[in-house]
């Protein structure tokens, strides 16, 4: 019987919620290897992350800015009512402004680069 990555992720989440020990992870990996599904691991991890975040109400937020600016990050935290610190990446090529991506599904692109691109395209 072949299992879908989603089923693995759900099962692992159940076991992990019960007992979050390295032993659980080790056993889970052993099971995946036994079933010959090691190639599915990236997908399982992706699904696990999604499920875990959903269960715990966590929003995975990534902020990309051109240079270090605490005030922008604080503003983002405030607007999105984040419990945890967002992931911050300094990306010089966006020139200015900010790009906020939420759960890798929604993006708010307020960077200078995209605005310039947009202007030239029009």
């Amino acid at each position: 019987m072949k299992y879908q990555s989603k089923i693995y992720a759900r099962a692992f989440l159940g076991a992990y919620e019960k007992k979050s020990a390295p032993e659980t992870v080790r056993r889970f990996l052993g099971l995946v290897r036994k079933n010959g599904d090691f190639s599915k691991l990236p997908k399982i991890l992706y699904d696990f992350k999604k499920l875990y975040n959903k269960n715990h109400g966590i929003k995975e937020v990534k902020v990309e800015i051109a240079r270090e600016d605490k005030s922008i990050i604080n503003q983002v935290k405030e607007i999105l009512k984040l419990k945890q610190e967002p992931e911050v990446e300094i990306k010089k090529e966006i020139l200015g402004g900010v790009i906020v991506s939420i759960d890798d599904e929604v993006i708010v692109d307020g960077s200078i680069k995209s605005r310039i691109d947009n202007m030239f395209r029009n």
Partner: protein, 539 residues
């Protein structure tokens, strides 16, 4: 210079940008022209996507919508796409900018010119403003100054000038049956396997049997057929050598046929997704002319390579393979493409779109998967045989196996009159062909039939790039089926035909004109034709 700066300043001042939340996806797997994307949960089937790479946007089409990922084919340089690239939806399906300006041009599957003669359209229209520019391998040589022609639009808000690449074929209400001939200028075809405007006639045969030669003749002949509207011809080359396409374009130019022809080329070196799209793009261009009430002729050269390109895309997208490893929807791929050929009725403009798909068989195997599929979709087929080709019967049409299911309704009365006898004589000849070797021992009537068959076979031979006017075909075939040539040596028949046509043209030009305008072979015309043939034979 100052003017340009001022203009730029003005534009910058007037520029407003809004920041809004967009749904995105991320590439998690990429290779060989396809990629898989996580996210983008509201993507449509066939939606145009935009992958943001480090060196600009690359377009893709969403073909597989799965539970939690999307399989997309990349239109352009897939080497630029990397894992983790952000993908945005455009909310629109792929479409092509079409217009009369395309006539005489050579374009790729996305409508970008590849003939080095600059942009196809002079202006960037309002739709073009937000058109997405697709960078393809083929247009690396093009300058950035070109107006973007690849655009996307939703099926509902179809802007004038843009046609979706995939479109539902015209319905029953809009159609009428085929009633106007499309003369190819090839005697064997126009007489026995007639093609009507709006028909789909398959040309099938092994490699090197003259499939392309037939369609090129058909294109060239359209300028001679002055009694009817000249159709716009669209030659779609799928997976062909660039040199072959260049040769065809040069030939068409030389014969003056590029004035009404468009070449859509997705050569062998272009990525499979573009080869897969090219016939649909050609069809969209044809539909533009059909909707305008004009006639269009689309040639798909060839659908075997198209099927292979689609198989590649499908297998890379991990769709389950079926017979000969083709995906399950390969039949639907070709049927929906060929179904778009139509003859619209007067209420819908009276335009038509004729399709001449080409299929290449392997060692004459017509029972392979793709040939049987396309044979069953089309309204008949022209079957070319290598044996006939090597015997010197060119075009190597096997008239016994070739059929046209609807074309006879469109045939002119004059041609019908001579073709009926022709078909019968040739069928009888085929039955007796085995006895040709012992012709001396046969009875008189059998001998006569064999001679008649040989004469007619000789008449039907024709050099390529020499399409013949319909009225001339009628005159020559009339002489053949009525036995006027039976006494002439077989080797002399070609010569006779040439001189006979010259004689008619010089001495009795009006009879050709009469056949052409009336399309009939009335008693009066027939009597005159008889007299002309007899007079000529006496000379």
């Amino acid at each position: 210079m100052q003017e340009i700066i001022n203009k730029l300043k003005k534009e910058i001042e007037g520029f407003k940008s809004e920041i809004k939340a967009e749904k995105i996806g991320r590439v998690f797997e990429v290779g060989d022209g396809v990629c898989r994307i996580w996210g983008l949960s509201d993507a449509m089937a066939q939606e145009l996507l935009e992958i943001e790479t480090d060196s600009g946007a690359v377009n893709a089409i969403a073909l597989n919508l799965e539970e939690d990922s999307i399989g997309a084919v990349i239109l352009g340089d897939f080497l630029k796409v990397k894992e983790g690239n952000v993908v945005k939806g455009t909310g629109r399906v792929l479409s092509l900018r079409v217009g009369d300006e395309l006539v005489g041009r050579v374009v790729n599957a996305l409508g970008d010119p590849i003939d080095g003669r600059g942009p196809v359209f002079d202006t960037v229209d309002s739709r073009g403003q937000d058109a997405v520019k697709a960078r393809t391998n083929a247009d690396h040589t093009q300058t950035d100054a070109e107006s973007p022609r690849l655009s996307a639009l939703s099926p509902r808000e179809s802007a004038p000038g843009y046609y979706p690449v995939e479109k539902i074929a015209p319905g029953v209400i809009t159609r009428e049956s085929v009633n106007t001939p499309l003369h190819t200028g090839i005697k064997a075809i126009d007489a026995m396997i007639p093609i009507g405007r709006g028909q789909r006639e398959l040309i099938i045969g092994d490699r090197q049997t003259g499939k392309t030669a037939i369609v090129i003749d058909a294109i060239i002949n359209q300028q001679q057929d002055t009694s009817r509207r000249t159709p716009i011809c669209i030659y779609v080359a799928v997976g062909q050598r660039e040199s072959k396409v260049a040769k065809i374009v040069a030939e068409l130019k030389k014969k003056g046929a590029m004035k009404y022809t468009i070449v859509v080329s997705a050569s062998a070196s272009e990525p499979a997704p573009l080869q897969y799209l090219a016939p649909f793009a050609g069809c969209a261009i044809g539909e533009y002319f059909m909707d305008k009430g004009q006639d269009a002729l689309v040639i798909y050269d060839d659908l075997t390579k198209h099927a292979s390109a689609y198989r590649q895309v499908s297998l890379l997208l991990r769709r389950p393979p079926g017979r000969e490893a083709f995906p399950g929807d390969i039949f639907y791929l070709h049927s929906r493409l060929l179904e778009r050929a139509a003859k619209l009725n007067k209420d819908y403009g009276g335009g038509s779109l004729t399709a001449l798909p080409i299929i290449e068989t392997q060692l004459g195997d017509v029972s392979a998967y793709i040939p049987t599929n396309v044979i069953s979709i089309t309204d008949g087929q022209i079957y070319l045989e290598p044996d006939l080709f090597y015997q010197g019967i060119r075009p190597a049409v096997n008239v016994g196996l070739s059929v046209s299911r609807v074309g006879s309704a469109a045939q002119t009365k004059a041609m019908k009159k001579v073709a009926g006898r022709l078909r019968l004589d040739l069928a009888q000849f085929r039955e007796l062909q085995a006895f040709v070797q012992f012709a001396t021992d046969l009875d008189e009537s059998t001998k006569k039939r064999i001679v008649r068959g040989q004469v007619l076979t000789e008449i039907l031979k024709q050099n390529d790039l020499e399409p013949m006017l319909f009225e001339k075909q009628v005159a020559v075939l009339y002489a053949g089926v009525n036995g006027y040539l039976d006494t002439i040596d077989i080797a002399e028949i070609k010569n006779f035909e040439k001189k006979f046509l010259e004689y008619i043209e010089k001495m009795n030009d009006d009879i050709l004109e009469k056949i052409k305008t009336s399309g009939e072979l009335s008693q009066e015309i027939e009597d005159r034709l008889k007299k002309i043939i007899e007079d000529f034979k006496k000379m």
